[in-house]
């Protein structure tokens, strides 16, 4: 649609109004997708009338859509290389006995029963995750870092504080997302993105927040080790979540992307303010 990556299958280059459901899409639509979109238009208008409102493109909308128009606006792919991931021991997984069935596509091989995660897949997933984080931060969204590992609790909280976002590395009370109006007070705003530095809790079960974020339609980014379940996460990142080096790398990457995105946003706002002032 707006200059995405080169694709092998036939695509249609028509300009459709930006649909909220397609904001996460950064590629062109195939003809079947376009026909499906047009055919279901009547159904969508009947059942979800509010979603059909064509967004009025104001200046702030143009600022918000900038990352969707340009490929890798925040230069996230420059932040790390495969060698960096290897040096940070991101490829090391758990033993064969701990392996989760759904993690098998992300594993490269297992030597001496120790699983090794495919770093090419990790780079692709990590770039996508960092892009999403950057776009959320650019749009002024709330990002919540979750990790229940006691070793990295202090590190994660420091990371969140330094990039001006939020962290939760403590005991998860039952209804923090699902019962938010009672827990926090009426009119609270829930996070727009949840980043898991480790998806497991202290008893090696999946963290409750993964399921609760899914229930509340909050997109999730999560570092999944070979013993984790990646199915409920929107943007899983296969990688090691046990080594301090690896977790420090992730924290550094997320902090840099968020800071970059916020600086870019401030820059764009200032530019538009200057433009408006010069017009007046």
């Amino acid at each position: 649609m707006f200059g995405g990556p080169q694709l092998n299958y036939p695509t249609v280059d028509i300009s459709l109004p930006l649909h909220p459901l397609l904001y996460h899409l950064n590629r062109k639509l195939t003809p079947s997708e376009v026909s499906f979109y047009l055919l279901t238009a009547s159904l969508r208008i009947t059942f979800f009338p509010k979603l059909q409102l064509k967004p009025v493109l104001t200046v702030s909308d143009k600022i918000l859509d900038l990352p969707l128009e340009k490929q890798d606006l925040f230069r996230v792919s420059e932040l790390f290389t495969v060698k960096d991931l290897f040096d940070a021991r991101v490829h090391l997984g758990h033993k064969k006995g701990c392996r989760h069935r759904l993690m098998e596509p992300y594993l490269y091989e297992s030597s001496l029963d120790y699983d090794i995660i495919d770093l090419d897949k990790t780079t692709e997933h990590l770039r996508r995750a960092l892009n999403v984080t950057a776009q959320t931060a650019y749009g002024g969204g709330i990002i919540l870092f979750i990790s229940r590992r006691r070793q990295f609790c202090h590190l994660v909280e420091n990371t969140a504080e330094e990039c001006g976002e939020y962290a939760h590395t403590r005991y998860w009370q039952g209804g923090l997302f699902t019962n938010a109006h009672v827990q926090y007070g009426p009119g609270v705003r829930l996070p727009d993105l949840v980043v898991f530095l480790s998806t497991l809790n202290n008893v090696f079960q999946q963290h409750v927040a993964v399921r609760d974020a899914g229930k509340m339609n909050i997109p999730t980014v999560g570092v999944v080790d070979s013993n984790c379940n990646p199915s409920l996460l929107t943007y899983p990142v296969p990688g090691n979540d046990d080594s301090p080096v690896a977790v420090e790398l992730y924290c550094r990457l997320f902090k840099t992307t968020i800071n970059r995105a916020k600086d870019k946003r401030k820059q764009m706002d200032n530019k538009h303010d200057i433009l408006l002032k010069s017009i007046k």
């Binding site: 909220p20 939020y166 009672v182 339609n217």
Partner: protein
């Protein structure tokens, strides 16, 4: 960001039913107030104050809170006994009533919370734990640096903790303005103990002492009777004591004779029983001043044993003015200066005495 409709939705709802949109007002906690709301209320109060001043025919500029109270009491006379139920026109921004600090809304106009640990639920407690752990790590890093340079102290300077105690759970709750469970409090104290147990903990002395309460020495509460001089130049002091229903007072003179007069009689006549005389002598024997003082006692009420006890307390108190503070502390620890709180317990109906029940008959 995904919303085309930006009015008061918690999360991006793809589809919704009226049941979801209905807010469960009963389940929400106490109402929270934004800073703008409080500001607006304060402005309205100022305008109302000026109106009231005009109504009363007084100067709006110099209308104080006392004038407001007086005017309201005049315009709305109330016969209610409870002062807090009467009509009131006041703005109280402290933790007293109207807008206590914990009820203020925790997020800004764009919905972003102010505190980075807001989503944990207990932001102040966890931020305190985070801060404390950061300090523990700092001290460890400092210790490692000293060890690397070879300057690790063999006799490290410890923080003086003798005269203070840790804050109680209630005091901590009052400080953090949010409730804490007992497990949370124990974790907090454990982490503090861990910090204090480290060799180089003197780096964080100020932080540790800010979480400790100084213990007041009990001896500082003791009131020492003043040492007076009579016409003959002899030092004397007066004190009173009581036990059960007896009230006694004693004048201790520094003569050096060792005479004892009780109610005008010699003590041997007044207290024929040895036990009572021992009670009188015990304070002097404890301080080793048996033959030094002249005692002039007067006592009334109670029986012989309680009169002796009352006089014992009076003598100990009077002796305080002749002794240094350390000896006085020794007397306090011996229990000589503590008034005996035991009094006769009343008889209850349905029982024969205070505790004795009537004889229980099986049939």
């Amino acid at each position: 960001m995904l919303m085309s409709d930006s009015s008061a939705a918690v999360s991006p709802q793809i589809c919704g039913t009226p049941a979801l949109r209905r807010k469960n007002l009963g389940a929400a906690g106490p109402e929270k107030f934004t800073a703008e709301f409080i500001q607006k209320q304060v402005e309205e109060f100022e305008i109302g104050k000026r109106h009231l001043a005009n109504m009363m025919g007084e100067d709006p500029e110099n209308f104080t809170q006392e004038d407001i109270d007086r005017s309201i009491a005049y315009l709305f006379p109330s016969g209610l006994f409870e002062k807090r139920a009467r009509p009131l026109m006041k703005v109280r921004l402290s933790a007293d009533l109207c807008f206590p600090p914990c009820e203020a809304v925790q997020w800004g106009p764009d919905g972003r919370p102010f505190h980075f640990l807001f989503y944990t639920g207990k932001q102040y407690y966890y931020s305190l734990m985070h801060d404390l752990y950061g300090r523990v790590l700092k001290v460890e890093k400092h210790q490692d640096q000293l060890r690397a340079k070879g300057l690790f102290p063999t006799e490290p300077k410890q923080i003086a903790l003798g005269t203070s105690r840790w804050l109680t759970k209630e005091e901590l709750e009052a400080r953090l303005v949010e409730p804490i469970s007992s497990q949370d409090y124990e974790c907090f104290i454990q982490l503090l103990e861990r910090l204090v147990a480290m060799p180089c903990c003197s780096l964080e002395q100020q932080f540790v002492m800010s979480h400790r309460q100084q213990l007041e020495a009990q001896s500082m509460h003791q009131v020492v009777p003043p040492l007076q001089k009579d016409d003959a130049g002899v030092d004397f002091s007066t004190a009173e004591g009581r036990r059960k229903t007896s009230r006694g007072s004693v004048v201790v003179r520094d003569c050096g004779a060792g005479r004892l007069t009780v109610n005008g009689q010699d003590y041997l006549h007044y207290f024929p029983v040895l036990q009572d005389r021992e009670q009188l002598m015990f304070p002097l024997q404890f301080c080793g001043l048996l033959g030094r003082f002249d005692l002039d006692c007067s006592v009334s009420g109670g029986g012989r044993s309680s009169q002796a006890g009352a006089l014992r307390l009076a003598i100990s108190r009077a002796l305080l003015s002749f002794l240094p503070q350390s000896e006085g502390e020794a007397m306090r620890q011996a229990g000589l200066l503590t008034p005996d709180p035991r009094v006769r317990e009343r008889k209850k109906p349905g029982q024969e005495g205070a505790r004795r029940k009537f004889t229980w008959k099986k049939r």
